[in-house]
């Protein structure tokens, strides 16, 4: 009877911004991005793409295998997301960086990198598809 409409889950209501940005009032270079009508699909890839620097302890214990990790952005201190409630169709992405970068810069970079990664994935899949259809 009073169930919310199913489309509520993926249609952004009029007058609501898809992404809003809020600086942290206490910590410099920390901010939250509220993304409307998105879920783990976007939240998790964004969080994983925003590269996080290693903390001191990790640095000490894995010195040998750090090569790959050292390529990552040392400017991002924290990146995480949450889905506040299953019936609130939004996610909150939180990013904290050093003063060398900004949360907005890290966010934009993550979206751009993911976009390029997917472009690459698509052409890789298409090439495989063409190869496969030739073989059979």
């Amino acid at each position: 009877m009073n169930a919310p409409d199913r489309y509520e889950r993926f249609v952004v209501p009029e007058g609501v911004k898809k992404v809003s940005y809020e600086r942290d009032t206490k910590i410099i270079n920390a901010a939250s991005f509220t993304v409307e009508r998105e879920d783990h699909t976007i939240g998790n890839i964004l969080r994983m793409q925003v590269p996080i620097s290693l903390n001191f302890f990790e640095h000490l214990s894995f010195q040998g295998v750090l090569f790959l990790q050292l390529h990552r952005d040392p400017d991002v201190l924290f990146a995480g997301y949450k889905l506040p409630h299953p019936l609130q169709y939004k996610i909150i992405v939180r990013i904290h960086t050093t003063s060398q970068s900004s949360p907005m810069q890290a966010y934009n970079q993550a979206v751009n990198d993911l976009d390029k990664e997917l472009d690459h994935l698509k052409s890789a899949f298409e090439a495989e598809l063409a190869k496969h259809s030739r073989e059979y």
Binding site: R6, Y7, R9, F10, V11, K17, K18, V19, S20, Y21, R23, F33, V35, E38, H40, T41, I42, N44, I45, L46, R47, M48, Q49, P51, H71, R72, D73, D75, S101, S102, M104, Q105, A106, Y107, N108, Q109, V111, N112, D113, L114, D115, K116, E117, L118, D119, H120, L121, K122, A124, F125, E126, E128, L129, K131, H132, S133, Y136
Partner: protein, 319 residues
């Protein structure tokens, strides 16, 4: 404000490909991308399904709602879906969902005139668009027997019963209702790396080795008939059940067999309902994910507002 790029270059290898089935390896990326792809394939790649049914006559044993629901669940060929409009943002028809850009009309007329039961199947649905029809499992590529294929059963009629209706099919996504999901199953697993400690294995008797081989519920290990050594025959049969590890511990030989999931390597299995080809399903999922990413880019005014805020902030501090 360009930061450094940390882009990855994933690789793909297709192992098996049929119209409704695909198996491929995805490497050099992480679980978040693999899982995003899986989630999009299941719930966000659009297809076409019957969404609105007007029943003219129904004297069958099933009630109107029951039949409408069954019609909704029939997979329709949906190659068109990616280029079609959602009826909620179609401006050609004021969103009543009855124009060629956002909908396809179906008719069904069936009446049983003799004493034999009449099977009304998806084959009786007449489409207004030849590219959108109920999925035909009797297509040449399919392994189903033609003689046996009579479409998908909707209802059975006895003498004198009749069913007459008009149905509107629309574009939709699985998140809205599972009838729009193009995926029957989509799964991925980490590729396992299995190490056998040969030195420790040497010390075991043949009987103990047999027990190690047999401890796995799936056939992952075997004994080489010539050398009597335990060998891995099919690492991917391993289901991460830990039975072998437990067995090694009970033999007082922890570390005899070790299994490590390769965390940047995934094996995907995709099965389609037939609405779109399995290969197309993967490609559409990548496109949809790209569209979603485009939608979450920061808008111009958000960036501007923040710059103004920064200026103001600097001003306050300076002053």
């Amino acid at each position: 404000m360009e930061g450094r790029s940390y882009q990855r270059f994933p690789t793909v290898k297709i192992r098996e490909l049929k119209n409704d089935y695909a198996k491929f390896e995805l490497r050099d990326t992480d679980a978040s991308i693999a899982n995003a792809l899986r989630r999009v394939m299941i719930a966000e790649v659009p297809t076409i399904a019957i969404d609105l049914v007007e029943i003219e006559v129904n004297s069958s044993v099933l009630n109107d709602e029951f039949i409408a629901h069954r019609l909704g669940l029939i997979p329709l060929t949906s190659e068109r879906a990616m280029s079609m409009r959602f009826s909620r943002d179609c401006d050609a028809c004021d969103g009543d969902g009855q124009c060629e850009y956002c909908s396809v009309e179906f008719h069904l007329r069936a009446k049983c005139l003799n004493d034999q039961t009449l099977d009304v199947t998806s084959r009786e649905l007449i489409s207004s668009d030849p590219s959108v029809v109920p999925v035909d499992f009797a297509s040449p590529s399919s392994e189903y027997d033609n003689a046996e294929n009579r479409g998908i059963m909707i209802v059975k009629l006895r003498r004198g019963q009749e069913l007459r209706l008009r149905a509107i099919a629309r574009k939709g996504i699985g998140k809205d209702h599972a009838k729009w999901s193009p995926a029957a199953t989509v799964t991925f697993m980490y590729e396992p790396e299995i190490y056998i400690n040969e030195d420790m294995m040497e010390k075991l008797t043949l009987e103990q080795r047999m027990s190690v081989v047999e401890s796995s519920p799936t056939k992952v290990f075997d004994i080489d008939a010539k050398t009597g050594r335990v060998v891995v025959v099919d690492p991917e049969a391993y289901t991460y059940d830990d039975e072998v590890i437990k067995k090694c511990e009970s033999l007082n030989a922890p570390g005899l067999v070790e299994v490590h999931p390769k965390e940047d390597s995934f094996i995907f299995t995709v099965e389609s309902t037939g609405a779109i080809k399995a290969s197309q399903l993967v490609l559409n999922a990548i496109d949809i994910l790209k569209q979603k990413l485009d939608a979450v880019r920061l808008s111009e005014d958000t960036v501007e507002a923040d710059e103004q805020f920064l200026e103001l902030d600097a001003h306050m501090r300076g002053g």
